[in-house]
């Protein structure tokens, strides 16, 4: 019953979002842009949850997909909160939020 063209469109959109996010993660040096890229990649997954929940065979299963999407959004929000806190701390310590300049995580 699913519209194959609509499915392809949604999956293409979410795949594109993931690739854009990953590209941003691998190329951005600015910590804030890095966090935004992560958000984009996460939203690719959220889109998938919501889309497939619309085609669920029954209401409880549809609710499962949608609630997973809500959980992931909440998770992303907390992650961003932690990430921004790190950005502030890093800015205070080093005066820069360029991730390529800090390697303190090394042993």
């Amino acid at each position: 019953m699913t519209d194959p063209f609509a499915t392809a469109g949604f999956l293409g959109l979410s795949g594109a979002l993931l690739v854009i996010g990953l590209f941003g993660i691998l190329t951005r040096r600015n910590f804030i842009l890095l966090l935004i890229s992560i958000e984009i990649a996460i939203n690719a997954a959220v889109l998938n949850f919501v889309y497939f929940a619309a085609y669920a065979p029954s209401a409880p299963i549809a609710l499962e997909g949608q609630s997973a999407a809500v959980v992931v959004i909440a998770l992303a929000a907390t992650e961003i909160a932690v990430g921004l806190a790190i950005v502030l701390a890093l800015n205070r310590v080093r005066g820069s939020i360029n991730v390529a300049e800090s390697s303190e995580l090394k042993l």
Binding site: L26, V99, A100, L107
Partner: protein, 673 residues
């Protein structure tokens, strides 16, 4: 009779027990007694009691001929669980087996032991450490009587080791002297080579007879000897070992026999393990007389005799035993010919005479070998004790310093002469009868065993050498007018404690050969039909005449060269000079063994050290270094850069996807999944 003779046999343990008592008393309290030789008297009295018990047991065996009394005490008992090698468990026993041969050995050990202890009172009175001396001699006698009374091979081996360690203690009695300490060590190590072989032999016998044998004769009985003296290797024996079974195991039984021969050769100083006995003369002369002439060195012969009586040897073993014995008689006698040391002459003579016994046992006449052991114990102990009296009097062992002692030490010179006559086999002295039996019995086997010929001839040639070297020693020490070394102290005959043993042993050296002609005493040599007794008598007149002629020739040669204080010096340019050097250097055997130890074993150790350092340690160090390097490289991946980690995450994800979506299905497809 309320208490019969046979009842006494159950109390045979008293003999070693009395010696243990002496060992404990003298060993613990000997140094607290008012005078040092009091400990000696304790040992003498207890040894006297032991001698009484021992001789009574022997008399019992004469009264009830061929009685076998086995008194067993369980030493160790394992409980079996119904399966496995020993379904009913294994019992190890300590026991006393009184039979004619152990009675015979008891006479030898207890009588000579008592006489030597008595003699020690006079001989050792100037020495320090007397409590140690008497305690160790008592311990030795414990072990030796325990050995002759042993009723199983395991107990035999235990006491065998115990006499070995006592020998070690007593050779090293003068431990301040480096030569004595080294001689003790040499004796211990060389006999140890034989002991290991002995133990291996016992294991092989146990394997063959108990573990794979047809009816588990030994498994039920520990290592016990068969009562009645049926050899295991004789088909109609008490254990019913079939000929088929023997043929199937003949190789391993031959190996076992060779191992037993090795043990006996170590203890009885047979070629090539003979080197330790001459050096063992570093101990007190009394020790040489008791341990290294009469008893312990005879234990090897006793082991061979017991093995041939209870287990039996294969034909190959017999030939090997005959070869070792026959060769040793001649080999050792040649070295005695040039010795300047009175004790070493007698020591080589002991090796040579033990060779005769080994020869007889190998040729299948265990009782003839024990007959010679019996007579030899007395006349050789006599020779040693007489030599001890000389050494005691003049303070030197060098024959070339002595001379003319016959005048000042008439008693000793006659005692030594009796020993010498007996040793060289001049009738009617004891040595003649037993040596004659050995030679004639071996001669009788030559028809069926032509391979024995060379060894018989060597043994015959040794008769000449024996008479020559012992009379050379006698003439050098006792004939002439005065000592060759003017600094020698004026000699005198020994005190009564030393004379009595000499007197008694002289008596034995004269009559011991004909004692078995008494019907009662002869019972000690009668073990029934399986073991032929000595013939006692001129069983082969030709051999008797030839051996007597050779002995006489040896005596005459010695008389011509050495009598009346003459000293025969081999001319410098004589072609025999290299031979003399070879003999003086003992065929370079000791030097060879030393070289083997210092070079061969040292080289081996260095190779082992190299392997340890570079192969074993090298492997471990190499592994350590390789892993260290690998870790050093691996830790560089942790750069601390967030972007690098992100790359790893994404790269890992892609690799996972690649595997799950493409590689995995492809491999499954290849496997036909």
């Amino acid at each position: 009779m309320v208490f019969g003779w046979a009842d006494l046999n159950g109390y045979a343990f008293l003999v070693p027990l009395l010696y243990v008592l002496s060992f404990v008393i003298v060993g613990l309290f000997g140094h607290r007694l008012p005078r040092a030789e009091h400990g000696g008297w304790v040992a003498v009295v207890l040894a006297g009691l032991a001698m009484v018990v021992g001789v009574l047991i022997a008399v019992g065996e004469m009264v009830n001929p061929n009685t076998w009394t086995d008194t067993q005490y369980v030493w160790l008992h394992t409980v079996g669980n119904g399966t496995g090698t020993f379904p009913h468990g294994l019992e190890l026993i300590m026991g006393t087996l009184v039979d004619p041969i152990s009675a015979l050995m008891l006479i030898v050990v207890t009588v000579v032991g008592f006489l030597v202890l008595l003699y020690s009172i006079g001989y050792m009175h100037q020495d320090r450490g007397l409590a140690r001396y008497y305690a160790e001699l008592s311990l030795f006698l414990t072990a030796m009587t325990g050995l002759v009374l042993a009723d199983n091979l395991l107990q035999f081996f235990l006491f065998w080791e115990l006499v070995g360690v006592c020998s070690y203690f007593l050779i090293g009695f003068y431990y301040e002297r480096p030569s004595a300490a080294s001689a003790a060590k040499e004796a211990f190590i060389v006999t140890r080579v034989g002991d290991i072989m002995f133990l291996l032999g016992v294991f092989i016998y146990f394997y063959v007879f108990a573990l794979v044998g047809p009816n588990g004769g030994w498994a039920a009985n520990g290592f016990a000897f068969a009562l009645g003296g049926h050899p295991f290797l004789n088909a109609p024996g008490g254990y019913g070992v079939s000929l088929l079974f023997l043929n199937a195991h003949s190789t391993i039984l031959t190996v076992a026999g060779i191992m037993i021969l090795g043990g006996a050769a170590g203890k009885s100083a047979q070629f090539p393990l003979h080197v330790w006995l001459p050096d063992a003369m570093e101990g007190p002369t009394t020790v040489s007389a008791l341990i290294h002439a009469a008893t312990m060195v005879a234990a090897g012969v006793y082991l061979l005799a017991v093995t041939s009586i209870f287990i039996g040897f294969t034909p190959t073993d017999s030939l090997a035993i005959v070869a070792i014995g026959g060769f040793t008689t001649f080999f050792a006698a040649t070295m005695a010919v040039v010795q300047p040391d009175i004790k070493r002459v007698i020591a080589y003579s002991t090796i040579s005479q033990l060779g005769y016994m080994v020869l007889a046992v190998g040729a299948g006449f265990a009782m003839v070998g024990l007959y010679h052991l019996f007579t030899h114990a007395f006349f050789k102990a006599l020779l040693f004790l007489a030599a001890g009296a000389v050494i005691h009097a003049v303070g030197s062992q060098d024959l070339f310093k002595m001379g003319g002692l016959g005048k000042s030490m008439r008693f000793t010179s006659i005692a030594f002469l009796i020993g010498a006559l007996s040793l060289s086999g001049i009738p009617p002295f004891a040595g003649f009868w037993s040596k004659d039996d050995v030679l004639s019995q071996v001669y009788g086997t030559l028809g069926t065993h032509p391979a024995y010929w060379p060894f018989f001839l060597l043994a015959l040639a040794a008769v000449f050498l024996t008479a020559y070297y012992i009379f050379r020693a006698w003439f050098l020490a006792f004939s002439g007018d005065h000592p060759r070394d003017p600094n020698l102290p004026h000699a005198h005959d020994p005190p009564w404690t030393m004379r009595v043993p000499l007197l008694v042993l002289s008596g034995f050296a004269i009559v011991a050969g004909v004692l078995p002609y008494l019907p009662a005493f002869g019972k000690l040599f009668d073990l029934g039909a399986d073991v032929p007794p000595p013939p006692f008598g001129f069983s082969d007149a030709l051999v008797s005449v030839v051996s007597f002629g050779l002995a006489l020739a040896g005596f005459l040669t010695a008389y011509v060269l050495w009598s009346n204080g003459r000293v025969y010096a081999l001319p410098e340019r004589s072609p025999a000079q290299p031979v003399r050097q070879l003999l003086l250097h003992r065929y370079y055997f000791k030097a060879g063994f030393d070289a083997l130890g210092l070079r061969g074993i040292y080289l081996l150790s260095r190779i082992a050290d190299w392997v340890d350092q570079y192969v074993i340690d090298g492997t471990i160090r190499g592994l350590e270094r390789a892993f260290g390097g690998l870790s050093g490289r691996a830790r560089r991946m942790q750069s601390g850069m967030v972007l690098d980690y992100a790359t790893f995450v994404v790269g890992g994800l892609l690799a996972l996807l690649l595997f799950v979506l493409i590689v995995g299905p492809y491999v499954l497809h290849l496997w036909g999944g």
